[in-house]
Symmetry: C2
Subunit: 478 residues, 2 copies
């Protein structure tokens, strides 16, 4: 076997096999590699740099809204996890158990955190005493483990990275305002940074978080017409607080129970990014979170002056963009392929002919458009194009979602839409779990959210025909 690196191979086209296309992209764009443990992933430098960019943007917003970061232990005693009944029922089937430490068999099993509500609950009971201690607004960046049966990189893996916010408030109103505030911040991360349009709404009771009063969610549509939940924000009410005894003395000296929230986004967002913007040449990364926004590829770089000019351009562009250069001895064709696969927003070519004409050639990753740009307009043009690409990606994804959203008034329309125009289905619902389950069993589509912006597309439940309570977005989902 030769140990020389091979050329970038072709990837499966998404029309032929979307799942294989996804797997090809995560591997060929160097986002992920597989490790020894089934369902675990190695997040490679390029994938991790995207996560760092998302994290930096979100962390700043979390701090600006008064939250503080904290770090909780990885391991949770079984008895602590069992303190909140709905919670343990929801999570017990999918946790990893530590039963031995060194040579010692543990008298009580430990769980690797699947989420940290119970740890925060125990801590808050220790540190909250008075109304002066409220609100407590904590956030944690951490890894969590869930023992998933079927796994896919970023979308569903044994271990993933996330942030989990956990807050305590004096009143339910304040806590619910917090869940809305954080959902809006998640929507901002998706729409403004990742160029992924989202639907904002509430989960049905069946789809809400184990232990929550209600769950707010943002939902996005992938290129294949499946939905992906991109962030959730839970109003926990006083359930955990009662289980853990998180009480405070109010202004009148009376003992009260706090109202709690929790909210999180995960490395799943990278999966969403791939499936919303990617194409048959690979990944497409929106400029605002792209680790590298411009890649300089010198043409005929052995010729005098080319490399010097290429490095000078890198210096010149540093103040307006995150720019890099590939001056390796690989062929320009290989480089074009490689940086298209990695979805770098702009390619800049510079060769002897360009130098003669005092220009460079820029190529947009989103449209493939190629254009000569005079050297003295370069900074302005790069800035403009990065904005244009960001806007175009968002507009394109939004148009795709709108095109793939169908109103259904009957189950026949519902089923037809799923086949003929797979995507979101807007349909009225009576509010009964029976109808929700029936739809799921019949069509594999689940209720994604009850959108905040309600429309009245019909007076009757799409399933049972009874009086409709809510407009619901339904879809097959990841």
């Amino acid at each position: 076997m030769t140990k020389e690196k091979q050329f970038v191979k072709e990837i499966t086209t998404m029309e032929d096999d979307f799942a294989q296309w996804y797997t090809d992209v995560v591997k060929k764009a160097d986002l992920v590699d597989y490790a020894s443990v089934r369902g675990s992933m190695i997040i490679r430098p390029y994938g991790y740099a995207i996560w760092e960019a998302i994290r930096a943007a979100l962390d700043q917003m979390i701090k600006e809204t008064g939250h503080e970061n904290i770090y909780m232990p990885l391991l949770i005693p079984e008895s602590l996890l069992q303190k909140e009944k709905d919670h343990i029922e929801g999570f017990a089937p999918e946790v990893a158990w530590v039963t031995q430490g060194g040579a010692e068999s543990l008298s009580e099993r430990l769980v690797i955190r699947p989420t940290s509500e119970v740890l925060f609950g125990e801590h808050y009971a220790q540190i909250i005493h008075s109304y002066r201690d409220l609100p407590k607004l904590y956030n944690q960046w951490a890894n969590v483990v869930r023992w998933e049966k079927t796994t896919r990189p970023f979308l569903r893996s044994l271990e993933f990275l996330w942030q989990e916010g956990h807050t305590c408030h004096a009143t339910g109103t304040e806590a619910q305002e917090e869940t809305e505030r954080m959902l809006e911040i998640y929507a901002e991360i998706c729409e403004h940074f990742l160029a992924i349009p989202v639907l904002r709404g509430r989960k049905t009771d069946q789809e809400k978080f184990a232990g929550a009063v209600h769950t707010l969610t943002i939902e996005s549509l992938m290129h294949d017409g499946k939905a992906l939940q991109t962030g959730t924000s839970h109003y926990l009410g006083t359930g955990f607080a009662e289980a853990f005894g998180i009480q405070f003395t109010d202004k009148n000296g009376e003992l009260q129970t706090v109202h709690q929230t929790s909210w999180g986004i995960t490395t799943r967002l990278i999966g969403a990014l791939i499936m919303v913007h990617g194409d048959n040449r690979g990944l497409v990364v929106p400029p605002r979170i792209a680790p590298k926004q411009v890649m300089i590829v010198p043409i005929a770089q052995h010729k005098e002056g080319v490399l010097d000019k290429a490095y000078a351009l890198k210096e010149q562009l540093k103040s307006v963009a995150r720019v890099d250069i590939d001056a390796s001895d690989k062929k320009p064709g290989w480089k074009f392929n490689e940086y298209e696969m990695k979805g770098i927003p702009l390619r800049l070519e510079i060769g002897p002919k360009d130098i003669e004409k005092d220009q460079v050639v820029l190529t947009r990753r989103d449209t493939g458009e190629k254009m000569p740009v005079p050297m003295n307009e370069l900074e302005t043009k790069v800035t403009e194009l990065l904005h244009a690409i960001q806007d175009n990606l968002f507009a394109r994804a939004k148009a795709h979602r709108e095109e793939k959203t169908t109103v259904a008034r009957t189950m026949d329309e519902f089923k037809t839409a799923l086949v003929e125009n797979p995507g979101f289905i807007q349909a009225m619902w009576c509010g009964s779990p029976a109808c929700e389950n029936f739809i799921k069993d019949e069509t594999s589509a689940t209720s994604r959210c009850i959108p905040f912006e309600q429309e009245h597309v019909s007076g009757h439940c799409v399933c049972c025909g009874e009086k409709a309570e809510h407009l619901v977005y339904w879809a097959k989902a990841y």
Copy 2:
């Protein structure tokens, strides 16, 4: 039981009981709280903000020297850990074992990573093929678990946070240069940011990392005369690379094995910070990594104009310092105590009399010095003082270390020094493990490092009297 928060309590003086003083400081300065799992810790917002500051400074240096961040899985199959013999022998006694996932009993046990050499080894074997792929310079920020019997917050805990660098090089020389480069970066973090002077040197074979050819180390002296290892950088040679088959084709088309390094620093650094700079009023945080550098305490804040002025000062100082204000209804005395306990470098008092005189009163945390400062000199003075405090903390710690370093030429001198002036002992060593073990058994002091800067304090081994090979620093250590 009243749920009202109590006043900050006195802490144990370090002269009375250093260990209790340490525990008091980590708790009362709100750095850490305890969790349900024995030996685990909750890193509270103030402690975590210090870690974030260290991480930000180090991450920048790691990236500037060409390293890329990556994320490896938390769980390692037992068979993978066993691939490198010395490594598994070193770590097996102190790992946590996962034996069950969901309802399923695992056919192979998994280890929660105590360190990730084997995961990097497996990955590098997949992605390195040619000399063009070298060097590979990866780093990971992560949590690790070691099943420690006795634990103390930051110093020795079941789980801790760290970064671990893992690199591959074409030659041993390059790899060894890398270990030196990273040790110097760690020294820079300690000395320049944390104001902690370090000794740079090499570990003896007995004290080196399990699986390394040699280990470089930086060692610091705590206030009680005990040493703390503050960072290590390992040259792994080709041991792991042979076990994992990490090979590359060189320029001549021949198959070669890579040379590797690994290096890490941990949340232990926060323990060092406490024990090097802290005093009987609590923590002292060096300005360069202090989450808050200036705390404004309004005096008689109910009087007209005081709070307005205090907030205006906060705005005014924002461009030169990380500044905060405590405008709560707690008494100034409580606030003075609280921010001394938290080690905030400068306190700024502003009251009606100060406003009349167009001044504020600044108090240095390191010296307790209190000084009126005219309003129009404030920015300059704050900048100056923050530098002065940073420098003073370093100078004070260095003077302490020098005062607590004794040359010993005989075992009698060695033992006397440990009793009369506990700290580092400089003594010559013949190089034999027997002498090293004898010293450890007799005195509890261990060899901390063979310093790069060798002096010849005697011709004979302090233990056996044979010809001396090296000057060694010895100390009792954490």
